[in-house]
Symmetry: C2
Subunit: 93 residues, 2 copies
DNA sequence: GGGGTATTTAGAAAAAAATCTAAATATCCC
DNA sequence: GGGATATTTAGATTTTTTTCTAAATACCCC
């Protein structure tokens, strides 16, 4: 159940910002890092969390690793929130 | 910007479960606590986080404090996720 | 008012997460 | 192969979060 993992991954501002950066297209770890005031190691840590949550995936090319958004998991989150908003749990009248 | 707060609040499994309990209707702090293996103080802590994130609100009655879901903030989260999925940031063709 | 129940607050302890530095891999390209 | 660049891993430290116990509030009802 990677569900909890996804929520955890989304809870950090840096990681959300990374996702927003990737919205515009794939970026290398270095490119991503250049947007933040932290070491590459820390960025790598955040990328690992996002990867484990299935929110991003990587593709290797030349000497770089490019990361891109994986939106499929976001559907699940949307569904959960939607059901929370939706009201009663089983059915409606 | 309570946005980050909301994500943080949603990142904890206990708090998500509390929200799910409240989906069925208002509950007192004690009622909520009876669903978990933790002290009332800890439940109170989680309720405070949820309250600060505007995910729940309380109404006092008799000797009890009843909590209920506030779904308005969830819209914002949905929107954010939706835009992340949606692709380009400003508009569509 | 005063005992009783419900909940919160304060403060400390334990657990988890974020960050750094230094070193390790991995891959490119000459 | 070997130096150069990109990224990750390991381990330690700092910060944040979760949890507990004990005490404090708050409110009810006799």
């Amino acid at each position: 159940m990677a569900f909890a993992e996804t929520f955890k991954a989304l809870s950090d501002p840096v990681r959300r910002q990374i996702l927003e950066l990737l919205k515009k297209g794939p970026l290398s770890a270095g490119d991503i890092g250049s947007h933040f005031e932290m070491t590459g190691a820390t960025i790598s840590y955040h990328l690992k969390i996002l990867k484990q949550a299935d929110l991003i995936f990587e593709s290797r090319e030349k000497n770089f690793i490019y990361y891109q958004l994986n939106t499929t998991v976001l559907e699940e989150i949307m569904l959960w929130i939607s059901e929370l908003k939706g009201g009663n749990s089983d059915a409606e009248s």
